[in-house]
């Protein structure tokens, strides 16, 4: 296996932060405001973080049993050759599907907010071509691109949130838990699925230079994401109130339009594009790499690079075909994606973790050597 590439724990952490937060900060506020009202920030801060930590814990624990293999490689070892390959195939399709949805979100936002006359295909091709180049470079390249992108992302988001500070109306948050805890839980359904995207770590664990730090990096990433995704929701409710927030398609964009410092610093929405394009490119590259790696590990290739373009074209076609319009996309994100994603983010890894623990402790497989021998044979 050509897994000589290594990334540091902190690089992986920031990569995961960009991966999850890049789309979440634009799409989540409207969804949580609609379901949880002015308590939406609690949904994003508490429920989703708990879920994200659980996903991170399960994935890193599972990966810890096979430190130099990816999920798709060790699944056949755990559950038998054909069921394992089936699981691998399911994850390949899952990654491609999620990536198509991400690319669609990217194009949809640019078309609906800034460039309504341009065909969405143009944006999708652009981001996919950029990501393809990054993916051919490998995970080290993506991690370094992200080291450049992340600070901009952080600064722009911080500027958006804190330049509106004059308009904050803390009364908008009261009363806390007006309708009890249920709407907060209902509101955390979608943010949880978003946070659960840290599941891509399953494919990247072998690339960490210190596997022992994996759990710490993922947990730190989930906590940083919690801040990143809660602040825009909180700022949106503080400025607009939850009722108005729920009516915007992209509350964070409206927030940027609202920024006005001394009649001088205005119309900051253009800088949202900086974050959006840069962040999405990294996010798409991460999921793209995950799907290409799954495909190549599924059939046991030593080099994944030849698969980059074919997988990209399949992703591109689906980014167009999946939804007819923006509304359909948002409805799908809010109502169906979470439950579908839970299965892949928590369900399957949890089942495999239980199997790994049982088979280890039951002593049917005598340690690591047997795992490797069995794998060589397949």
């Amino acid at each position: 296996m050509s897994q000589n590439e290594k990334v540091a724990g902190t690089q992986m952490m920031f990569l995961l932060v960009t991966t999850v937060a890049a789309t979440g900060f634009l799409f989540l506020p409207a969804i949580t405001a609609e379901v949880a009202g002015h308590d939406g920030w609690m949904s994003a801060l508490l429920g989703a973080t708990a879920f994200g930590l659980l996903v991170g814990l399960v994935c890193t624990k599972l990966g810890g049993y096979f430190p130099d293999k990816s999920f798709v490689e060790y699944a056949p070892v755990l559950v038998g050759k054909y069921p394992g390959k089936l699981v691998g195939l399911a994850y390949l399709l899952f990654f491609i599907h999620i990536n198509s949805i991400i690319i669609r979100e990217f194009g949809d936002f640019l078309v609906s907010a800034f460039l309504p006359e341009t065909p969405i295909l143009v944006f999708n091709i652009m981001v996919l071509t950029l990501a393809a180049m990054a993916v051919r470079g490998g995970i080290e390249v993506i991690a370094r691109v992200n080291q450049f992108v992340f600070p901009q992302f952080f600064l722009v988001l911080a500027a958006l949130v804190f330049l509106t500070i004059e308009e904050w109306e803390f009364g908008n948050l009261l009363p806390l838990l007006e309708y009890g805890i249920k709407p907060v839980l209902a509101g955390s359904v979608t943010p949880s699925a978003w946070r659960g995207e840290v599941v891509v770590i399953l494919m990247f664990l072998p690339y960490l230079n210190k596997p022992a730090e994996a759990a710490k990096s993922v947990a730190a990433a989930v906590l940083i994401i919690a801040v990143f995704l809660t602040l825009p929701i909180l700022a949106g409710v503080l400025v607009f109130g939850s009722e108005q927030e729920a009516h915007f398609v992209f509350p964070t964009l409206e927030l940027a339009r609202y920024v006005n410092v001394g009649d001088f610093l205005q119309r900051l929405e253009a800088i949202i594009i900086i974050v959006w394009v840069a962040g999405i490119t990294v996010k798409v590259a991460v999921f793209y790499l995950a799907s290409v790696l799954s495909a190549s590990h599924l059939v046991g290739l030593s080099d994944y690079r030849p698969l980059v373009y074919p997988v990209g074209i399949i992703t591109l076609v689906y980014s167009i075909v999946l939804f007819d319009n923006s509304r359909e996309l948002v409805k799908f994100l809010a109502e169906y994606v979470p439950y579908y994603a839970y299965i892949f983010e928590l369900g399957i890894p949890m089942v495999l973790l239980v199997i790994a623990i049982i088979r280890r402790k039951g002593g049917k497989l005598s340690g690591q050597t047997k795992f490797f021998q069995k794998d060589r044979g397949s």
Partner: protein, 75 residues
């Protein structure tokens, strides 16, 4: 448009295949060919307006009951 798409595919094949032949990576070549065929089938079908298998309605149908149940439980 169809010609353009065909050219793109030809370019990708011309770009990838010689390297694999030189290194005798037959497994890679096989995987590349299968994925490339799927990609070509899907994109030509989309371009010509033929039906492309779409997972969205399937996923919606499967998770509709779950979504409704959770909504009812938490409202």
């Amino acid at each position: 448009m169809i010609v353009l798409l065909g050219l793109v595919f030809l370019a990708i094949i011309a770009f990838e295949v010689p390297g694999m032949l030189k290194k005798q990576q037959w497994r890679e070549l096989a995987a590349f060919s299968v994925l490339m065929l799927i990609a070509m089938a899907l994109s030509f079908a989309q371009l010509l307006g033929l039906p492309v298998p779409n997972p969205t309605p399937v996923i919606e149908a499967i998770f509709e009951p779950v979504s409704e149940a959770v909504k009812k439980l938490l409202s």
